[in-house]
């Protein structure tokens, strides 16, 4: 476990020692703030809870995009630059490599989310929102982010190029998001499976209104688990070829 924190710490420092981390943070927060101003606060009068729900809906999109951008370099860069050989030849398990990488990305995303808290707090200044609603929404964002980061890490383990990794992660996430559409054109029980698999539609909506269901939490944790498990397997398989 020591190796996990060691790798995570180094990785996190790498986000902060290079421009990429700051660029992702700044651009994502700026766009999110812009959209908050124009899309969420603008338009006709709404109740505070609706404003907040809308905010979480928009932010979930940014979480997905940020997750892809944050995770694309995790393993692809190591392979590209050859530093993966350092990890491979050290007394570290492949699972520890994956967990360390993922953990650093999750912490980075959490920092980004923490920096965005001023927006719901602004809603609270002029309206009436419950702390529970904000907390529930942010828990949802973090869980969604965790699932997206895990999928991104998986994509990053498959290819050498960060750009290809990002495209791949984007495709996987969009596919996972659109399964609810498949659910519309299929018969049960298949439609139920597709609908339960949907990344956003089925499982994130409750979080937007601050409602935390165990099944939604379990869903995001399961996606995270499966993706990280697959990533570990990819790393192990690399040693054979």
């Amino acid at each position: 476990m020591k190796a996990v924190f060691l790798i995570a710490r180094r990785e996190l420092a790498a986000y902060l020692r290079t421009w990429s981390g700051y660029v992702i943070l700044a651009v994502m927060l700026a766009l999110n703030g812009l959209l908050f101003n124009a899309g969420v606060l603008g338009g006709q009068e709404k109740r505070s809870a609706e404003v907040l729900a809308l905010y979480f809906q928009f932010t979930s999109f940014f979480v997905g995009v940020s997750a892809v951008l944050i995770s694309m370099r995790l393993l692809a860069e190591e392979v590209q630059s050859g530093t993966i050989h350092l990890l491979y030849s050290s007394p570290v398990r492949d699972l520890e490599i994956v967990l360390g990488k993922f953990l650093s990305a999750l912490v980075f995303l959490a920092v980004m989310l923490a920096l965005s808290v001023y927006m719901p707090l602004l809603v609270a200044v002029n309206g009436k929102v419950s702390a529970g609603h904000i907390a529930g929404g942010y828990l949802g964002l973090l869980l969604l982010g965790s699932a997206c980061l895990a999928v991104g890490t998986f994509a990053s383990s498959l290819v050498k190029s960060q750009v290809v990794a990002a495209v791949l992660a984007g495709c996987l996430l969009v596919a996972l998001m659109l399964t609810w559409m498949l659910a519309l054109v299929t018969e049960p029980p298949l439609s139920e499976v597709f609908s339960a698999m949907a990344l956003y539609n089925q499982h994130f909506k409750p979080f937007e209104s601050g409602v935390v269901h165990t099944r939604d939490v379990a869903y995001y944790l399961a996606v995270t688990y499966v993706a990280l498990f697959a990533t570990t397997r990819v790393l192990e398989a690399r040693r054979w070829r």
Binding site: A3, R10, R17, H85, S90, P91, R93, R241
Partner: protein, 313 residues
């Protein structure tokens, strides 16, 4: 220290190495010699527990690469063909990270980093960011990361590749300083570097070991055991070659090339005959410009070994 038996590695249909068998004793410095694509890197990666073999057995310090890779990884320092450096870190921070990753206890990390920097001549760049370093320094950081946890076995894949002549000399000295503390396995396709630093050579070609032994043993195997002398003379080479061939002990003398009135003659015979050869030539009225041992002795062995293999297959 290292026992390798029937080691084979396939990439898809292509066999990168086939049925390699060799042993390396503790404390030896072994040179792994082969042309590009001969299978050196693949072999070293397997020994470094980066890749898994398709078939065969590899035991390092009594541990099997398949069953106890972790135990082996604690005992090796590996420098891949491109040094595995995190560009955004400082040299000191990077070496500390590697030391901790390889299991150096926290209180000793600082001392080990300093020792490794001392060995590799990196003290003055301790605080420098790795991306700002020159190629020679990067290579040295690569060596430092391999020794920072005091491994019993050092695996260096082409440590001198891409270095300029001055840096090559420095790197050779660095590797020479490391001997005694570690068993060292280093690869190269540059011959002099290997003959200068290694106790024993393993010559690999098309994934198979074609010869092993010391430089002299290899020379004897190749029938050039008698050694060679090379002379450069002014004027017609043939006459000089005939003179040289008459010196007792000389097997054969032949004109290698002749241009601009200067001839290069290769004389097969023990290098100890150089004084006699010189006297014979000068006594025969030949203007002697240069006389030395066959400079590229190892080069010849190597080319013969690899070339012989190619024509055989």
């Amino acid at each position: 220290m290292i026992e390798v038996q029937g080691l084979t590695k396939y990439y898809g249909q292509h066999a990168a190495i086939r049925d390699l068998t060799f042993n390396i004793a503790r404390g030896e410095v072994i040179g792994f010699l082969g042309l590009n694509g001969a299978g050196k890197t693949t072999t070293l990666k397997i020994l470094g527990c980066v890749l898994l073999p398709t078939a065969g057995q590899v035991r390092i310090d009594g541990f099997d690469v398949l069953k106890d890779p972790h135990e082996i990884r604690k005992r090796i320092g590996f420098l891949p063909d491109t040094p595995p450096l995190y560009d955004e870190m400082t040299v000191g921070a990077y070496l500390a990270f590697v030391a901790r990753l390889r299991g150096v206890p926290a209180p000793r990390v600082q001392a080990r980093v300093e020792a490794a920097e001392e060995q590799a001549g990196l003290r003055e760049v301790h605080r420098d960011v790795i991306s700002s370093l020159s190629h020679g320094y990067r290579q040295r950081v690569g060596v430092a990361q391999a020794v920072v946890h005091e491994p019993a076995l050092l695996i260096l894949d082409e440590p001198t590749s891409g270095l300029d002549p001055a840096q090559i000399v420095e790197m050779r000295a660095l590797i020479r300083n490391l001997r005694g503390n570690h068993t060292i396995l280093l690869s190269s396709h540059i011959l002099p570097e290997i003959s200068h630093t290694c106790d024993r050579l393993l010559v690999i070609q098309s994934g198979e070991i074609v010869a092993q032994g010391t430089e002299t043993e290899l020379a004897q195997q190749m029938g050039t055991g008698g050694g060679q002398v090379e002379v450069e003379v002014k004027g017609p080479g043939q006459a000089a070659a005939e003179l040289a061939a008459k010196v007792p002990g000389v097997v054969r003398a032949s004109v290698q090339r002749e241009e601009g009135g200067v001839a290069v003659i290769r004389i097969d015979g023990p290098p100890e005959l150089r004084p006699q050869i010189a006297r014979a030539l000068v006594g025969g009225g030949v203007e002697l410009l240069r006389l030395d041992r066959g400079a590229d002795r190892l080069e010849n062995i190597f080319l013969k070994l690899t070339h012989g293999k190619e024509t055989a297959s």
